[in-house]
């Protein structure tokens, strides 16, 4: 691994090592570009991933308290944890479920497809679908996604057999074990999935794609990557011309350091990226970097989520097997006759007893709650992931009440759900209930209280018009040509698909653009 000097102003500094930052680091370094990669968290290994879920949560999670408000359930149920994001080398690709469906053509022209809807800030993505698709296909190959490129699906587990039986009885046509960035066979130097069911705790056999053990070590092997762990960026600085030129961070010992930079790419997940750009406000950029349009932090989307848990007469033992290897595609379509625009995916989900109690079941306690838990072995579960509609007032700001260990304000998340979101959740949960009942459930419990969000999008939206967004179609900020956003924040609208595949696709595309911009001395 390389080591670059703090005053080396020829390096590109990337902040965050997850799906966006980790992929971008590999793509730039393999092109001969020097990269300093700042990661706030520690570096785990396959051996150090804990199999104690409580310990694993602490290993991988960004634990700082945040604050939240609005009419979404999170503001009542877990107000200090509006999002569950990672703080670890590999970012959320360490704990993700690796579900990788594609965004659909009509989803990236949502404003045109759905029309004008009051109370939303719908817009079309500033790129043709063919352009996005080209890079989505490259991302699928990079991630070895199942059911793409001739790669077989994962074998059906117990929980999936329940989902599949119900789906078929209900008349759904497209149900299968899913598109997953999890090895159904040994490939890419990584093992095949052994169905251990601890995807969220970090995959100890590396069957699940994570930048931790793919993109990052490959970037290190180029000799062009300087990865600095436990290095928390606190401020991005700029020169008199309004170009960014350094990143200030706290190192592992808590000392303040200042790395000079030719360009800076922020990939901290929408919450942390927004926070850092807001914290970097200056006399020249009083609303924060990249925010002359006042769009930074707005249009925050997190998907319409809901859980359905069925109680069966016979054992399911859903904990056995890959956490999310099951998908129903039929509802991922735009059919306003259902009472809402946009679509959703029904995804199988396995949970341990704590997960069922805290996330999947509706709020409760007492005899009835304990009776459901007594039936844990006989439970099957699925969740919905749907497109929420962007709203300018759904917004990440700096919290007035919560601070991190450096004394800096953490993110505040405000969400008021749109009526379309609520109608979609009602429909999705009812369909999930019908699936479980068709498979024989004697009782189905629906959880409308979405737990902490893991899909965070829209806060640095791409736009052609600088007045309407934060970044251009390459994630380059409109205000500052050598400042980029490289995470889900750039999504103009959220679509229904789990976002990681698209984050990787956009990072692959952004890397080509940055290489061209550096080569032509545009930045």
């Amino acid at each position: 691994m390389a080591s670059f000097a703090l005053d080396d102003d020829g390096v590109v500094v990337i902040i965050g090592s997850g799906a966006g930052g980790g992929t971008l680091a590999h793509e730039l370094t393999r092109r001969g570009i020097k990269v300093v990669l700042l990661e706030a968290g520690k570096r785990q290994t396959l051996a150090s991933f804990s199999q104690d879920p409580g310990v694993a949560y602490g290993q991988l999670t960004w634990l700082d308290a945040r604050s939240s408000s609005g009419n979404w359930a999170v503001a009542q149920t877990t107000p200090s944890a509006p999002a569950w994001i990672a703080k670890s080398v590999g970012g959320t690709t360490t704990h993700w479920g690796a579900v990788t469906p594609r965004i659909a053509d009509w989803e990236i022209r949502a404003r045109s497809a759905y029309g004008e809807i009051a109370g939303t800030s719908l817009a079309d993505w500033p790129m043709p679908f063919e352009e996005l698709s080209k890079y989505t296909a490259l991302a699928e190959a990079r991630l070895f996604v199942t059911r793409r490129n001739g790669i077989p699906g994962l074998p059906a587990s117990n929980n999936f057999k329940v989902m599949y039986a119900g789906a078929k009885k209900l008349g759904y046509r497209q149900a299968h074990t899913g598109y997953l960035a999890i090895n159904s066979r040994a490939q890419d130097g990584r093992a095949a999935c052994i169905q251990q069911g601890f995807c969220v705790q970090g995959c100890k056999v590396a069957a699940k794609w994570s930048t931790l053990y793919t993109e990052i070590p490959r970037a290190e092997a180029t000799g062009n990557l300087d990865l600095r762990i436990e290095s928390m960026a606190t401020r991005i600085e700029h020169n008199a011309n309004g170009r960014v030129n350094a990143v200030v961070y706290r190192d592992a010992a808590g000392r303040e350091q200042r790395q000079k930079a030719r360009a800076v790419c922020v990939a901290g997940n929408a919450l942390e990226t927004t926070r850092l750009l807001l914290l970097s406000q200056s006399a020249k950029f009083p609303r924060g970097l990249g925010n002359s349009s006042d769009q930074l932090g707005r249009h925050y989307c997190h998907h319409v989520l809901g859980f359905a848990t069925g109680v069966f007469e016979q054992p399911v033992r859903m904990w056995r097997g890959t956490s999310q290897a099951g998908l129903i595609e039929d509802e991922a379509r735009n059919d306003p006759k259902r009472g809402f625009v946009g679509g959703y995916w029904l995804e199988m989900v396995n949970m341990d007893p704590t997960g069922v109690a805290l996330a999947a079941l509706p709020y409760g306690w007492g005899r009835d709650f304990a009776d459901v838990m007594d039936n844990y072995s006989n439970l099957a579960a699925l969740m919905m992931v749907g497109e929420d509609l962007p709203r300018a007032e759904n917004r990440i700001t700096l919290s007035a009440t919560t601070r991190d260990s450096h004394g800096l304000p953490t993110a505040h998340v405000h969400v008021d759900e749109h009526a379309n979101d609520i109608a979609m959740r009602r429909h999705g949960l009812n369909q999930a209930k019908l699936v479980l009942e068709a498979a024989g459930a004697r009782r189905v419990l629906l959880s409308e209280g979405s737990p902490s969000s893991t899909h965070n999008m829209g806060t640095a939206r791409m736009s052609r018009d600088p007045a309407l967004g934060v970044t251009n179609p390459y994630g380059q900020t409109h205000d500052i040509p050598n400042l980029f956003v490289s995470d889900g924040g750039v999504f103009t609208t959220p679509a229904a698909a789990n976002p990681t595949l698209t984050i990787v696709a956009l990072a692959l595309r952004q890397a080509e653009y940055i290489e061209r911009q550096l080569g032509s001395r545009a930045i």
Partner: protein, 181 residues
């Protein structure tokens, strides 16, 4: 007496111990010598510990689950309270609000008492703690049939991940090959 000594005496006076006896055939019997168990509390009194144990059992009443499992919830609260004086105070006030007779009251009475405080931060935080800790105990895992991590045994690939037989098998096109077969 210095104020520090006064703090120390106060601290010692407040701390307590929870005790119990394991059921015959308890899975824990393999781990502890004899059948009786004792939990030394670092920040809470015996009475506070007993009230919180009854609180946890009323929230999540599994008749087949012994007190030793619920004691783990109390132990978790006690450990945090020993580090965080504000939490210790809020637990003490919460316990006071339930009244001294709570621990020995019948279940209906305990449920009524909890309903009264359901909107408080004390209740909500303890509810989440009870779920996080109780359902992560080995005793609860045995009760629920949960088998936990399988990495150390090669995963569930050869340990029943697809052994459900009361529904039809999934056609190959919608499933996938089993690695190594």
């Amino acid at each position: 007496m210095s104020s520090r000594e006064a703090d120390r005496r106060e601290f010692l006076k407040r701390t307590g111990v929870l005790t119990g006896v394991l059921a015959l055939g308890s899975p824990l019997a393999l781990l502890v010598p004899g059948r009786s168990w004792a939990l030394d509390l670092k920040a809470l009194t015996t009475t506070q510990g007993q009230v919180l144990l009854a609180f946890a059992r009323t929230l999540l009443p599994h008749d087949k689950l012994e007190d030793a499992a619920y004691a783990a919830v109390v132990q978790s609260a006690d450990a945090d309270a020993a580090r965080d004086p504000a939490l210790r105070q809020s637990l003490a006030q919460g316990v006071d609000s339930l009244g001294a007779g709570f621990a020995t009251a019948d279940e209906a009475t305990r449920v009524t008492a909890l309903r009264r405080i359901e909107s408080t931060a004390f209740f909500q935080q303890f509810r989440v703690r009870a779920m996080q800790v109780l359902y992560a105990t080995p005793l609860a895992h045995v009760l629920l049939g949960y088998e936990g991590e399988a990495f150390s045994k090669g995963g569930y690939l050869t340990r029943g991940f697809n052994d459900l037989r009361w529904l039809p098998d999934v056609p190959a096109a919608d499933s996938g090959p089993i690695p190594g077969s």
